[in-house]
Every structure is written in structure tokens, then in C-alpha cells.
């Protein structure tokens, strides 16, 4: 057992970071907080999915999307459509002129369920759609933009416009989408009441579990050659291209990945909050999601999780005590992070805490970091090389972003 790679990994420094996060989310917070506060943390964590996607997409590959809210929202809407259909039984909607369809459709004189709602009667389809719909849209946008080399600022502005278009569309087509109110009053998931404290707590743990799945997926990509190419693309796009890579395909991939993460986050958000509305799709929401990522450290997937937690906790805390001051604090946070700590929390950690750790680790020479030197047995070499590659120790060069 001692030699099993999993155990070894958890004993490594990187493994300890993940353990610490797991400990915080699985043990410390549930013990410390009541069900209400824990549900709020669960809601913040759904934003962390978007932030992880942004780390991959923006921090690593240099593609800043100001439209992540679109994917978050689409994932959320897919889930909300399923839950709404479940809540709109003919009995529950008996007072409507057309019972059995969602209430807002009835208010808008729609008398039959629209065709694109039909498949959402199936939970399996919904689960696929939660990831599939955002990814499909990301694929379309990605293919259109990246094969034509739209990048940087232009990409950011176009994604922003897409967020604006989708918001207006959803609000305008209220008979089909619930309009500005969104899809509200969601009650049960396959008969299980999601509004109770027990359900909310259970959903919290589901969120944490899925968050770790996404974290490990992102980490796997970082560790592989794929991750290195993403970073390389950010700084020397032409060199990557003329090393024989189809740069557009890689960009499309990472953009779709970020969209998939956002979609999962959105679906969990719907479950934990109980409704979905177009305000998550808009520009403001999308930019806020970027700041979660920037505050945590745009290169660190773990940092992104802490960023999402901290900004939202601060937002709730601040707005409870000093509501008028909150926008000032948030604005100052944006400016401060960008000007003073472009690497966010992860960067600060790296500069101030890591040296301390370094000393601790040095006293115990038998940790894995000591195998840095070229191993004599060549069979060992392939695996060991690059082991020092830590998400937190990435070099960041702001001017290339």
C-alpha cells in the first residue's frame, strides 16, 4: 500500500493541497456551518466550476471569454427545464387554462409544450444536454472564431455580444423561456424534494464531488502534453503552429472544456438555488466569473476554487453589513488584483507561504521532490521528468496574456 502511486501522490506537496481543500469542503465547512450557510457555500462552489474552466481557457491558453455566463446559464436552463416539467404535473397546474404545461407558458397563451421542451421530460437526456448544449454552442463559436484566428480582445468582445444577444432573446421569448423571471418554483428531482435542508446538504456534497471530478480532469490535462501545448500556445502561438499543431483545434477543445465545466456548474446552481434566470447569462455575471478566476490566480485551478469561495463569501458578508460599500470593495478588488497581484491568491501563496513550506520540506529529505536529479535508471526517467510541474509554480508573464 505504501508504494501505491495514489498514496504517494497524496503525500506529495500537490496532493496535500488537494487534501486540504477536500478537508475544508467535506469536513470543516459542513461541521462549522448550518444547513443554510452550507447551501450558500454550495452555491458559491457552482461558480467555481466556471472559474476552473476559465483557468484552463484564459489562464493557460490565453483565451478570455466574457461569455462564460452563457454556458453556465445554458447548463442551468437545461436542468431547470427538466425540473419545471416535473413540477408542472396536470394536478399541480389544474387552475391553468392548459394544465400540464409550465405556468409561464400558460400565462403567455401557449397551449402545448413546445417541441424543444419535449426531450427534457427525460432525465437522461437532460444530463446529456447539461453538458451537450453548452459544448455545442462553444463548438460553433469556437470553430467560427478560432479557425479564422479571432483572438484576444476581439474574442472577448464578441463573446460579450453573444451574452447580450442570448439575454435579449431569452427575455424576449418569455413564452418559451420564462422571460426575465426565469424558470422558478422548482420543487423536486425525480420525486425528491430539493427544497429541504437534507436535500440541500446532499446536493452540497454532490457539488463537492463533481467539483473534484472537474479538478482532476483539469489537472490531468495540465499534466499531459496537452496542457503544455495550451501554455505554449498562449505565449508562442506561431511556434506551436509551425511545430505541426492545429492551434485552432486546441483552442476549440479548451473553450469547449470550459463550457462543459460551466454547464455542470449551472445545472448544480439550478438544483441548489431552485431556479434559473437570464441574469446569469448577462455580461455582468460573466465578468464577475472572470474575477473569481483572477482573484484566485488565473493559472491555478485550486486558486480558482478559493477565489470563487472568497469573493462570494465577501459579497454576502459585505452586503449584509455594509450594502452601500460593497460595489466599492468589489471594484477595488478588481483593480487591486490586476495591478498588484496579477497572479491572485495563488501567486501570493507562492511568494509568501511556499518559502516557509520549502524549509519544512527540506528538513524531511525523503519527499518526492528530491528525485529531481536525472534518475540513473532510464526506465524511471520518463515518469519522473516534469513531476515538479505544479499548477501553482507556473511562471506567469503578464505581458503575454
Amino acid at each position: 500500500m505504501k508504494d501505491s502511486p495514489v498514496v504517494k501522490w497524496f503525500a506529495s506537496r500537490e496532493g496535500l493541497y488537494y487534501l486540504a481543500l477536500a478537508l475544508l469542503l467535506v469536513v470543516v465547512l459542513p461541521v462549522m456551518l448550518d444547513a443554510f450557510r452550507l447551501n450558500m457555500v454550495g452555491k458559491y462552489l457552482t461558480y467555481a466550476f466556471v472559474a476552473i474552466g476559465l483557468v484552463m481557457c484564459w489562464g493557460k491558453a490565453g483565451i478570455l471569454s466574457l461569455g462564460q455566463g452563457v454556458f453556465f446559464g445554458l447548463g442551468g436552463y437545461c436542468m431547470a427545464m427538466y425540473l419545471k416539467l416535473e413540477a408542472s404535473t396536470p394536478e399541480a397546474t389544474a387552475i391553468q387554462s392548459t394544465p400540464g404545461i409550465p405556468d409561464f407558458m400558460d400565462w403567455n397563451q401557449i397551449t402545448a409544450l413546445p417541441w424543444f421542451w419535449e426531450p427534457f421530460n427525460s432525465f437522461a437526456f437532460t444530463l446529456i444536454a447539461v453538458i451537450g448544449v453548452p459544448v455545442l454552442l462553444a463548438l460553433i463559436i469556437g470553430v467560427a472564431m478560432f479557425t479564422r484566428r479571432v483572438g484576444g480582445v476581439y474574442f472577448a468582445i464578441i463573446t460579450q455580444a453573444i451574452a447580450a444577444i442570448l439575454t435579449i432573446l431569452i427575455i424576449g421569448q418569455q413564452g418559451y423561456t420564462g422571460g426575465i423571471n426565469g424558470i422558478t418554483d422548482l420543487r423536486t428531482l425525480m420525486g425528491w424534494d430539493i427544497r429541504t435542508d437534507e436535500a440541500k446538504t446532499a446536493l452540497y456534497f454532490v457539488t463537492v464531488a463533481l467539483l473534484f471530478v472537474c479538478l482532476f480532469a483539469a489537472r490531468l490535462i495540465q499534466k499531459r502534453k496537452l496542457g503544455r501545448i495550451l501554455v505554449a500556445m498562449n505565449t508562442q502561438e506561431n511556434r506551436v503552429r509551425f511545430s505541426g499543431y492545429d492551434v485552432a483545434a486546441f483552442k476549440i477543445f479548451v473553450f469547449c472544456l470550459a463550457a462543459a465545466f460551466a454547464g455542470i456548474g449551472g445545472a448544480l446552481f439550478t438544483l441548489s438555488v431552485g431556479f434559473m434566470s437570464p441574469s446569469f447569462i448577462g455580461i455582468v455575471a460573466s465578468i464577475e466569473m472572470v474575477i473569481f478566476c483572477a482573484l484566485g490566480g488565473r493559472l491555478s485551478i485550486l486558486g480558482a476554487v478559493y477565489g470563487a469561495l472568497l469573493v462570494n463569501a465577501a459579497k454576502s458578508g459585505f452586503s449584509e453589513s455594509f450594502p452601500e460599500l460593497w460595489p466599492f470593495a468589489m471594484g477595488a478588488l478588481f483593480i487591486g488584483v490586476v495591478l498588484a497581484f496579477p497572479n491572485g491568491l495563488a501567486g501570493l501563496y507562492q511568494t509568501y507561504v511556499m518559502p516557509l513550506e520549502e524549509r519544512l520540506f527540506r528538513r524531511k529529505p525523503k519527499t518526492d521532490g528530491s528525485q529531481k536529479a536525472k534518475a540513473t535508471a532510464p526506465a524511471q526517467t520518463p515518469g519522473e521528468r516534469g513531476k515538479e510541474y505544479d499548477p501553482l509554480i507556473d511562471q506567469y508573464s503578464p505581458e503575454k496574456s
Binding site: 426565469g182 422558478t184 431552485g274
Partner: protein, 422 residues
């Protein structure tokens, strides 16, 4: 009756010569007086469900947006609710308990409303919440308040189609506002053709749906119906369409910043509302909005509401004076602000009628509650938790006030699920 007594005290506060200090001393003496006179019922009797009620205080929540885009509209409601609470406290409180309020910011963000309402109900255990403004924020709160059995007093005129046991709707639902105003336009102004125009969300769309059905029933004609995204600021094209189709009445439910652009551009395009050709009838522009639009730009338009600041009755004069004293002379009061002011009073009366803060008992006691000292005159809570109220038509003056030109004879019955209008 306790009710009348306490409102009378409220009046003496309203007339009071001055400063908040005086108000406080008044309140303090009042408290002493009540605790000395009437024996306060013990907490265990009036609170059996674990609400935040002590022997001398009771907690309520105020939940509006004070930041973000909706702050513009919601601040008046916050001010009115605080004023009502202060007055109630000055008059001896509710069941001998002073009201303490916990204020939360919905930040113009619907999930935040849901989150904060959960907090108010779960952590602060408030006995009632006064709040929400937009339909979206109410829809976000609704499941929470039903789940935890809270009580929400919702002030805004809205689209109807809702009737929750946990909400008292102190504003008008759409039919109250619309039917009377269209009848008025047809009877008094001889209107035959209508152009329906609104911001693109549920309230204008539902309102226009009701208006259209009613116009159809009267055998008249809708010559255009149009929606613009919230925040839209370019109305020249629609103004041209209006000029082309020459409706007798433009029935407008444009909201927010768009309003300002819309009226300024109408005026600039040479449409003089005072000529009433076409006549502009709005259900969304209160005195509050006029401050942003500018009185000179809306002079001559008609609004259909239940309350105007200029209403000439003693209740309203006292209310306006008290409001200005509390919040400044340059304040204006719109329909929603007045409706928000009703919330704490209606709650107080229901609590006192029930003799308990328990939400179930308050809910049972609510229908039939009459508030004779309402600034708008007289209101009564209907079985369906909406208010019986009169509908009035005001004509906008250059100074930003409405002159009341018409008022329904009887109270309009609230009908959130109007037969034949769905």
C-alpha cells in the same frame, strides 16, 4: 379599537413639528404609556413558532435592492416602510412590542433576493418581510417564503396570475389598473384605436394582453403592439410607426431608464401630450419616474394608478408631510411608495386582530382587514390577499405632479386570475 388608537397616534407624529429627536422622545413616552396602561400579552402566547419576538421587540425584514439597477425604484419603498415602522413604534408598537427591522440588500439580483429571504426567515426568524419590487424578485422569493411559511408584503403593481397564501399584495394587480383606465379613455376621451407599447418582460406583456382583450371586448381596435429590451434608449422608429398609424391612445408600460429616453424623444419628435392627439396613457410612470424624465417632457400624459401624491384627503396630507419630514423636502411619492407604506400597517392590524405573531394566524386574520387611514383613502384586504382599492387617472403637470382627473366610484375588486382575460 386598538387600531384606531394607534393610527391616531401615528397622526400626531405626522403633524409633529420637527425633528427625529422629538419623534424618539415621543416614541419613548408612548412606550412607557403603553406598557403602563395595557398589559402586554406574554411572548409565549403571541409567538408559538419561534419567531424573533421578545417581551418588548419583534423583528421584521426589509428586503429591497439598494444597489444595482433596481435601486432607483426600490429606495422609495424602503423609505416608506421605515417610516411606517417608525410611526407604528411611536404609537406603541405591535402588541406592545417595538418593531426592529433587519434590512437586507437584494442588489437587483434575483438569486440574492432568494438567498436573503432565506437568511431573514432562517437566521433572523423575522415575523414578516416587507420587500421585493420586480416580479422576478418576487418569483425568486416566493418558493422560499412558502417553504418556510413566512409572510411577504409586496408593494408593486404587478401582472397578477398569482395568489400565494404567504403574500399580501399591497399594490394593484393588472386588471385593477387597466380596465378602468381603458373604460375611461373610451368614455371620456372617445378613444377608438390603441397602440400598446412596453418594455420586454412579463408585466408589460401581461398588461397589454389584458388591455388587448378588453379593447376587443369593447369592439375597438389595437393598431400596434411593441416591446423593447429593458434599457433600450432609441425610440425614433417606434415613434414613426405611431405617427403612421395615428392611434387615439398610446398605452405605455415602458419602465426604467428607457422611460426617460422614450418621453424625451416623443416630445422632441413634436408630439405634444397636452394636445392629447394621441393621448398617452401609462401604467408605469409614477411621480418617482417623472423626476428622472423631467416634468416638462411628460406634461399632459395620463397615468392610471391607485395613488397620486396630490390626492386631496387628510390621510394623504399627513402622510406626505411625515414622509417629507423624515426623508427631506425634495422627496416625491409614487404609487408603489404608498403601497409599501401600507405593508407594515396592514401587518400590524392583522397581528393585533389575530392577537398573535404566528404567521398562520396572521394569514387567517388578514382578509377583511380595513385600513381607513391609508393615504390612498380606504383599502381592504380581499380573500385573495390583494387589496380592494380605487383606480384613479392623473394628468401630469409640468411640476412633476399628477392632477387627479378621474376616480372610480367604487373600490375595484382585485382579480388576479381574470376570467376571459387570459
Amino acid at each position: 379599537m386598538g387600531t384606531t388608537d394607534s393610527t391616531a397616534n401615528g397622526r400626531s407624529f405626522g403633524k409633529g413639528t420637527g425633528l427625529r429627536k422629538k419623534l424618539m422622545t415621543l416614541a419613548a413616552s408612548m412606550m412607557l404609556a403603553t406598557s403602563a396602561q395595557a398589559a402586554t400579552p406574554p411572548t409565549s402566547e403571541v409567538n408559538t413558532t419561534g419567531l424573533a419576538v421578545t417581551d418588548d421587540t419583534v423583528k421584521v425584514g426589509i428586503l429591497h435592492s439598494i444597489t444595482g439597477t433596481m435601486a432607483i425604484s426600490e429606495i422609495g419603498s424602503v423609505q416608506a416602510e421605515k417610516l411606517a415602522i417608525e410611526q407604528i413604534n411611536a404609537s406603541g408598537g405591535v402588541l406592545g412590542r417595538q418593531i426592529e427591522f433587519v434590512q437586507e440588500d437584494g442588489a437587483s439580483d434575483w438569486p440574492t433576493f432568494a438567498e436573503k429571504s432565506r437568511k431573514l426567515l432562517r437566521q433572523d426568524n423575522v415575523a414578516a418581510i416587507f420587500g421585493a419590487w420586480t416580479s422576478a424578485s418576487r418569483k425568486a422569493i416566493l418558493p422560499v417564503i412558502e417553504q418556510f411559511n413566512g409572510m411577504l408584503y409586496y408593494p408593486t403593481f404587478y401582472e397578477g396570475l398569482e395568489q400565494s397564501p404567504n403574500v399580501i399584495y399591497t399594490g394593484q394587480e393588472a386588471t385593477q389598473q387597466i380596465l378602468a383606465s381603458i373604460d375611461w379613455a373610451v368614455e371620456e376621451k372617445g378613444a377608438k384605436t390603441f397602440y400598446l407599447l412596453g418594455s420586454d418582460y412579463i408585466w408589460p406583456r401581461t398588461s397589454n394582453k389584458i388591455a388587448r382583450k378588453h379593447i376587443d371586448k369593447l369592439g375597438l381596435k389595437v393598431v400596434g403592439e411593441e416591446y423593447y429590451p429593458l434599457g433600450h434608449t432609441q425610440f425614433n422608429s417606434v415613434i414613426n410607426k405611431i405617427k403612421l398609424r395615428k392611434p387615439d391612445v398610446i398605452f405605455a408600460s415602458v419602465v426604467g431608464g428607457s422611460n426617460v429616453a422614450f418621453y424625451k424623444q416623443m416630445k422632441a419628435a413634436g408630439i405634444d401630450f397636452t394636445k392629447e392627439s394621441p393621448l398617452l396613457l401609462t401604467i408605469s410612470v409614477t411621480e418617482d419616474e417623472i423626476r428622472g424624465i423631467g416634468g416638462e417632457n411628460v406634461e399632459g400624459i395620463y397615468a392610471s394608478m391607485k395613488y397620486f401624491q396630490s390626492l386631496d384627503n387628510p390621510n394623504n396630507q399627513e402622510f406626505v408631510a411625515a414622509f417629507k419630514e423624515a426623508w427631506g423636502d425634495d422627496m416625491v411619492i409614487g404609487d408603489v411608495t404608498q403601497a409599501a407604506y401600507l405593508g407594515p400597517w396592514l401587518w400590524k392590524m392583522a397581528v393585533e386582530k389575530a392577537g398573535s405573531f404566528d404567521v398562520d394566524k396572521v394569514r387567517e386574520a388578514s382578509p377583511g382587514i380595513e385600513f381607513t387611514k391609508a393615504p390612498e383613502g380606504y383599502v381592504r384586504i380581499h380573500e385573495n390577499h390583494h387589496l380592494w382599492s380605487k383606480t384613479r387617472i392623473g394628468n401630469a403637470q409640468r411640476n412633476g405632479q399628477y392632477k387627479v382627473v378621474y376616480e372610480t366610484e367604487d373600490l375595484m375588486e382585485p382579480d388576479p386570475f381574470p376570467e376571459g382575460y387570459q
